[in-house]
């Protein structure tokens, strides 16, 4: 078959132990985002996701995976590693929010400052960033995205299937509600 279109479904299922997750495991809908901290479209999607979480409450589980496109976004990889370094200290989501709320300030000194604001062990944080301790994890996320058909950021998956429509609030909310009702 020369015109095969592979099903765009999550190649690596959500893992409660490995993934960064907000919401309950038994929520009827899981939204997975592959995102890049420096990507302006992901920045635009960030408040939309927050709004979706507000509106759907406990019916929604949200998962974020890294998909830094360093070719276009020179700070994206380090920012992703910073989020993972924060995760290693149990503070992934706080750092995630900080990064999206300060998308234009993602230099190393900015990242250290955010770590400080969050009350992280900054020395450890800096050491892990310098040593790229979390690079393999970020790459693992990235490749799981590639194998799931991620072709740009942000890419969303609703209950495991790629959302091939607009990600404005109304469209995404409708897709989530449909999935919840299914």
């Amino acid at each position: 078959m020369s015109r095969t279109q592979f099903d765009a479904v999550l190649a690596v299922p959500v893992d409660q132990d490995r993934d960064h997750i907000q919401g309950q495991a038994d929520a009827p809908v899981t939204l997975v985002e592959y995102g890049d901290y420096e990507c302006p479209y992901c920045g635009a999607a960030y408040p939309i996701v927050t709004e979706l979480q507000d509106r759907m409450g406990e019916r929604l589980r949200f998962v974020f995976r890294n998909f830094p496109i360093t070719t276009s976004h020179p700070h994206a990889e380090q920012a992703a590693e910073a989020a993972e370094a924060a995760a290693a200290q149990g503070r992934f989501w706080e750092m995630h929010d900080h990064l999206y709320e300060n998308q234009r300030r993602l230099g190393d000194q900015d990242l250290y400052a955010y770590a400080e604001e969050l009350g992280l062990d900054v020395e450890l944080f800096e050491k892990e960033l310098a040593g790229h301790v979390h690079a393999p994890r970020v790459r693992e996320d990235f490749m799981s995205g590639v194998r799931s058909g991620v072709n740009g950021t942000p890419s969303f998956y609703v209950n495991g299937t790629r959302h091939d429509d607009s990600y404005d609030l109304e469209t995404l909310l409708a897709a989530l509600e449909r999935a919840a009702a299914a």
Binding site: T70, S72, V146, G149, N151, G152
Partner: protein, 166 residues
């Protein structure tokens, strides 16, 4: 997403076809020919135009994946009808470190040979070919032109080359 929709996408050369030879400029004084890749897999990424938004996302993604392609000893080349100076500026601006070939004169000739030329627009389709070490097409795909096809299909094709031992 399964592709069952009826649309006007052309059918590319099917697997098993001997890939048509070509020679195109990659810089003002360098030519790249398909024959140079004999002995290793090569990925041909036809794309409509330099600078258009979807193209750059797609090629940026492939740039990220060069190390993965290298694991299969595969080379990647981009091909569009843009001229060489546009390619050079585009590659520099977008940080692309693989050859972009200019299918510029006669315009779109290679795209035509590979059955992925869009005569109305005067550009090529967004099409992917994976060609094996013997110069035979092993996978081909034409994406809806506004949609970035991603890279999973390429990786699957490269994996199946390894499995079939070629």
């Amino acid at each position: 997403m399964t592709n069952t929709t009826v649309d006007d996408r052309p059918v590319p050369l099917p697997p098993g076809t001997e890939a048509p030879e070509f020679q195109l400029p990659s810089t003002p004084d360098q030519m790249v020919s398909l024959a140079e890749f004999r002995g290793q897999p090569v990925i041909l990424a036809f794309y409509p135009e330099d600078w258009s938004p979807v193209c750059s996302d797609q090629l940026a993604l492939y740039q990220e994946l060069l190390p993965e392609f290298k694991k299969f000893n595969a080379e990647l080349v981009g091909i569009s009808v843009d001229g060489i100076w546009s390619h050079l500026a585009f590659a520099r601006d977008r940080n692309l470190h693989f050859p972009l070939l200019a299918d510029f004169e006669p315009k779109g000739e290679v795209a035509r040979t590979y059955q992925v030329y869009r005569a109305t627009e005067g550009t090529s389709e967004r099409a992917l070919y994976v060609i094996d070490a013997d110069g035979v097409v092993r996978w081909s795909y034409v994406s809806p032109v506004g949609i970035n096809p991603g890279a999973d299909g390429i990786l699957r094709a490269l994996e199946s080359l390894v499995e079939s031992g070629s």
